[in-house]
Symmetry: C2
Subunit: 333 residues, 2 copies
């Protein structure tokens, strides 16, 4: 896919007109790491910004084997049936690049990806979570400007990706399966408490009863955790993504959440706090990257990290030495 | 208290000899923000580092009204009775300074503070959590070098202080009271899942039965959360700090945890990962502080933060502009 960074304002017009080709090119531009592309991407974002904010942004995570993709496909198809347009983005810092698209993503949501009103975009390549997160945040805004009503950001649960996704969405949804807690061996600490809603999937056939029981257990357990927001009690729903049952309730719940939080002013507050935190995390990310890229730091770093990890050097002293090395003026020849 | 940064190695010798005055002066030196003091503090830490690591480091948090201070005092007195020496540090980024000591801290643990074998140190002053956390981490190591066997770090639950404390200790302990979950209104999301152990306090008199019930409920709920470590199942104990009952069980549990994690190699691994993360968080903290202190950034920042929070400016663009401003060479007169 070719990128034309030379005219970001034309690209912005295409995105706002709902041109699919422009949308794809805009996101490719955002994902580029070339400095001239970054400048064009910023000009693009500047043009699109006034047209963002009207969707509901949903982060989705789940234990391995929870049927997340099937759930997202069923949910996306239901959103379409409601006359609304879904976009699906993924955050997977480990995903390999294959010409800008991962075959798997399209095939695992076959029906949804065939619908011209939906949009599915695999995770951008990029070694750091920070990079992937930044581009996903921007892609989310581009999709909003392009007229999508529901943005789903899927996390694969690698590294700190759940926290990064929870920090960029309006609502963080945790997909579980009936399994009495054993399934949570695969999930990181703190994720259950991050959730704004829990959905127990696979409530079909032999598992239907177990799913209802799991939902009840989680409802009781959540009672003992800190509330997600003073305006919201975390609900636990069951559904079968495969049989496409219970998905309507999930949609009603999502729409109700957005409405409640919006009226309470909590949605605007959350988004504003997220934008503020995003700015600072990018500042921090950019500065750390510059430090890591400094050849003098690069020479020092491996020995120093080892000494710190082995307790031979105080972390504070190591940090000061790294920063001082970085801030020294470069020697002139 | 006067600080003598001129001879950190003499100070280190005093700390290692267990001189109380040297210990207090060493921590005061660490808490100082003067650049020459910082250099001396680093020399001190360098000398002490080989003598650290032998204690068990316990972080303690709890809901307001859980009786944390009474619990820490009872626990500390029990530790003394076991023939071990406790040190209590506090992390409170909001605490006001009053001559280097907060009166409240001493009076609320009166009996423990009167015992010459124990050491209680209030939170250092400092506006940022990062600053308070760094000094507490170093104070913890100083106490270890001075021969304390049990280091208790108390967090008051302001800002992100629980996470900071959980990231510096071997074991994170959550103190609750019987109350059917309502008490958790006062605690932040994710804290229950951070806990390596839960203690339900106030299991006395009329509340004894409710405490047992709360403990049972929490045990069930924890079953549905991610495990704290593959080597450890998070226990839920009851105690009465006021009546000093059940405290022995807490101590047995703490000692058992340290032993189990140590033998599994998980303690060394956790400490090494913490040291590594500490180094990077200090690098990040130092660089952000330098950026914030830059007069050119200071001029830009207020308008920019407002524009980002109000959605008028893209966070990515704002971040790039801040970093570029900071990295511009200063103009020559």
């Amino acid at each position: 896919m070719s990128v034309s960074p030379s005219d970001p304002s034309a690209l912005a017009k295409g995105v706002l007109a709902g041109e699919r080709r422009a949308l794809a090119r805009a996101i490719t531009l955002i994902e580029s790491t070339r400095p001239d592309h970054r400048e064009a991407a910023e000009a693009l974002m500047h043009d699109l910004l006034p047209h963002t904010g009207r969707s509901v942004r949903i982060g989705i995570t789940g234990v391995p084997g929870a049927g997340k993709s099937t759930f997202i496909e069923s949910f996306g198809l239901h959103v379409l049936a409601e006359g609304k347009r879904p976009a699906v983005l993924a955050v997977d810092p480990s995903s390999p690049r294959s010409g800008g698209s991962i075959l798997g993503d399209k095939t695992r949501m076959e029906e949804l990806s065939r619908d011209a009103r939906a949009f599915i975009r695999p995770s951008p390549s990029g070694c750091t979570l920070g990079g992937v997160a930044r581009r996903t945040r921007e892609a989310m805004l581009v999709c909003e400007a392009a007229g999508f009503d529901v943005i789903v950001v899927e996390t694969v649960g690698v590294g700190q990706s759940e926290t990064a996704v929870a920090d960029m969405v309006d609502m963080f949804l945790l997909v579980l399966v009936p399994g009495g807690g054993d399934e949570l061996q695969g999930i990181k600490k703190g994720i259950v408490e991050l959730a704004d809603a829990i959905v127990v999937n696979k409530a079909d056939g032999d598992l239907a009863k177990a799913a209802a029981r799991a939902a009840r257990d989680y409802k009781n357990a959540l009672h003992l955790l800190a509330p997600s927001s003073p305006h919201w009690t975390v609900p636990v729903l069951t559904c079968s993504a495969m049989e496409r049952s219970g998905i309507d309730d999930v949609w009603t719940m999502v729409a109700g959440y957005r409405d409640t939080m919006d009226k309470a002013g909590a949605l605007a507050e959350r988004r504003s706090a997220q934008a503020h935190a995003w700015m600072w995390s990018e500042v921090s990310e950019t500065m750390l990257q510059a430090l890591r890229d400094d050849p003098r730091v690069e020479r020092l770093l491996p020995d120093m990290e080892r000494a710190v990890a082995e307790g031979r050097m105080a972390p504070g002293a190591a940090a000061r030495q790294l920063v001082e090395t970085f801030r020294l003026p470069l020697a002139r020849p």
